[in-house]
Symmetry: C2
């Protein structure tokens, strides 16, 4: 019971015929870009999720969920967003356009609008949905990932953002990452918005401009400028934006945008509140953070490993205007998505992944087939006492059973042997101390 | 924070415009047959899953998982199975035929074959996958459900079946169901197989005959006979099968099939071992149980509420020949699938669903905006101590905060008030006793 090697190290088994091998490649593989979870993978996933859940619990967020399949229409926004270009979509048998969810926020919006009149705000909700996208695969990116989402609906001041940032940092601390390993870069889209407004640029294409600017590190400056000019921005304005995105301190913006800048005051408030939560050292202001989703309206942030060897660990921000895009009344919202893939890669690289065994209390085995029923009776009693019991269902020699109990890290080996059973007794070996004792079945 | 009414009792909100109402119906509903999980629904789901997981743990089963999307080809078996007729399938952008999984067993088979050479058998694995089918919806049946699966791979004797049955009964006991409420009916497909063989019927269509017979309670006798005649069975043989399926005791089969009947000896062994596990009173032999999946080869079973008001709660059996249908070497396998929908309906009907609150330790609030930072500092400290802290992010009056803390069932209310804070103190109210105390922040 248990897996000898990890799914990541699969060597082709020798006994396979060429036919079977082809079959395995084509038919027995998971669909492209998706992961199987063998027990050792599932244990690690469960370990990570338990931290997501435990952080969510300490911040008093409630779990919610929505179907993994949604109407495609909730994802179609007018923009060049990567995520909506990569929708894993289909037509169902009834001719409806549906999609595997690429992200959770539209489902969350749907749930809120559907029941807004009977919900009591603010809401603090979390979820760990699996999300899918249809795209080329690169390091740290598959076609599916799990994404821890925390969202606060109905709080307009930046204490909401700071609660979310604190939760992310709490997760980092739990899994053993320090502020030397990772950090969160923060900006506010209103900086750009105010700047554009000062330059007399119309606001209606603001979200699309942000989506273009998010690609700054991937595309050449020429391509970005070309994209911006398609959105009506002159080269001068584009240049000014480019310079602006390099600014690393809030005070420069304060001089630029004036004392009554909303963007600046929100940022200052955020860093001030972060100080009360002792998380300031994890945070930095970085005007180049804009995020690639069109719906963000204020604070935006991304967490990175400091060596920048990996993609962003998580990202989020404020999206106060999303609900009106569904024809509902807007409410202040902010949240983040935190994928399972990048964080696990970072933890693996830093040797921070735990070695997880099966967590079995007792291995029960019998030496002769005639003792099978006794072994099943013993297992039943132990399980009723709440113990985790691994019953070996074939008669075994002591040596083999001992080796197995050792391998899976069991606490005790329960031996049903002919000699002991003659006295209606069983033999119990404590695997840590090696001590053995005999116990009457009636005393179990 | 939190939901006032259940998703099952949604009354149309009054402020909605006809336009928005139409929009909600068409766009803001989950896709047909799928469920949203608002926090109170998610709490119940989590409660049920924790029982699934806890039973799996006491039986030392290891968790595994596979993608919710699989190649359609792993589900296409030659038969009239309901489940394969209702596949929720699509073509992806690369022209591949894929499907949302209708059940977990083919994925399990895929995982086993893919790594058989490096796995150490027997395996005892469990999973709680969401499964989808595209079909008309009836009571207790949606287009998706979660299905607890437990499977044992590599054990040929019936102790495997008895372990599975014990696990199911352990789940029933945990959620408060007794043997007066529910029971498991058991048969063995080899009974029918031996009977058909004695009558000289060829064996190659055996699995299809079983799939037809599983519909016995849904279709008319004439329709069943018609279907069986299409599979080459004469009316005499069909009649004999019909009579046979009514037999309720193993000894009649023993007389009919002889002392060396494998079917009879397996059934006798199963009931004998069940006795060692003290579960016999939950079980009954019932020849009419055949199951609707073609891959079962031996023991088959279904759990029902005794009043028979609901669909089957769970079903399973032995499927020793599944792996060869994927061109791999067969291995003895047995398992079951246990859905979340029917069991929850039964528990609801019997008033056995728990009232679950949010499980928050402390509600922290501040009376004036100037105390926001203090409240955030206090929350940070309490969370570092492992407490679940619900920070109210707007200044509140004591009365309102108290009402809220009461509603969500918090243990304590932490009050940040101007009077106390002048002394660098906070006020703590124990919600159960009503007692209040003052504490210096430095002592927290």
């Amino acid at each position: 019971m248990g897996l000898e090697t990890s799914m990541y190290n699969l060597t082709p088994p020798k006994h396979l015929t060429p036919h079977l091998l082809r079959f395995i490649v084509s038919e027995l593989r998971p669909v492209r870009g998706a992961r199987d979870f063998y027990p050792e993978d599932a244990r690690l996933r469960s370990w990570l999720f338990s931290h997501f859940k435990e952080v969510s619990r300490t911040f008093a967020f409630e779990e919610y969920d929505a179907p993994i399949v949604e109407s495609e229409s909730i994802y179609t926004r007018k923009s060049g967003e990567e995520i909506t270009d990569q929708i894993y979509n289909f037509e169902d048998k009834g001719g409806r356009r549906i999609s595997l969810r690429p992200e959770m926020t539209p489902s969350l919006a749907r749930l809120i609008i559907q029941k807004a009149p009977v919900l009591s705000f603010p809401l603090k909700w979390y979820s760990i949905p699996q999300c899918w996208r249809y795209e080329r695969m690169t390091r740290g990116r598959k076609r599916e990932h799990y994404q821890w989402n925390m969202d606060i609906i109905g709080v307009e001041n930046t204490s909401a953002e700071v609660e979310l940032l604190s939760a992310i940092i709490s997760l980092f601390e739990r899994v053993g990452l320090s502020k030397e390993d990772v950090g969160i870069r923060i900006s506010n889209r209103k900086l750009l918005q105010e700047l554009l407004s000062n330059m007399g640029t119309p606001e209606n294409q603001f979200s699309e401009i942000c989506v273009v600017l998010d690609k700054m590190h991937k595309l050449s400056k020429e391509d970005i400028f070309e994209n911006l000019s398609q959105l009506g921005l002159s080269e001068d304005i584009s240049s000014e934006i480019f310079d602006m995105l390099k600014i690393q301190d809030i005070s420069t913006f304060e001089q630029k945008l004036g004392a009554d800048s909303e963007a600046v005051s929100e940022l200052k408030e955020l860093f001030n509140l972060a100080d009360s939560c002792s998380i300031t050292e994890w945070l930095s202001f970085d005007a180049s953070i804009v995020r690639g989703l069109s719906y963000y309206t204020g604070t935006v942030f991304e967490a990175f490993d400091k060596k920048q060897d990996f993609r962003a660990i998580c990202g989020g921000g404020r999206y106060d205007k999303l609900l009106s895009s569904f024809n509902a009344t807007d409410m202040p919202c902010c949240g983040f998505g935190f994928g399972d893939v990048v964080i696990m890669e970072i933890l693996q690289e830093r040797n921070l992944l735990p070695s997880l065994l099966q967590n079995t209390d007792d291995v029960v085995f019998f030496m002769e087939d005639s003792l099978r029923e006794v072994a099943m009776k013993v297992s039943t009693i132990l399980r009723k006492n709440g113990r985790s019991v691994d019953l070996i269902m074939k008669s075994k020699k002591v040596k083999k059973a001992l080796k197995y109990a050792n391998k899976i890290g069991a606490s005790r080996l329960i031996m049903i042997t002919p000699d002991e059973w003659e006295k209606e007794s069983i033999r119990i070996k404590d695997m840590a101390s090696g001590e053995e004792s005999e116990l009457l079945l009636s005393k179990l």
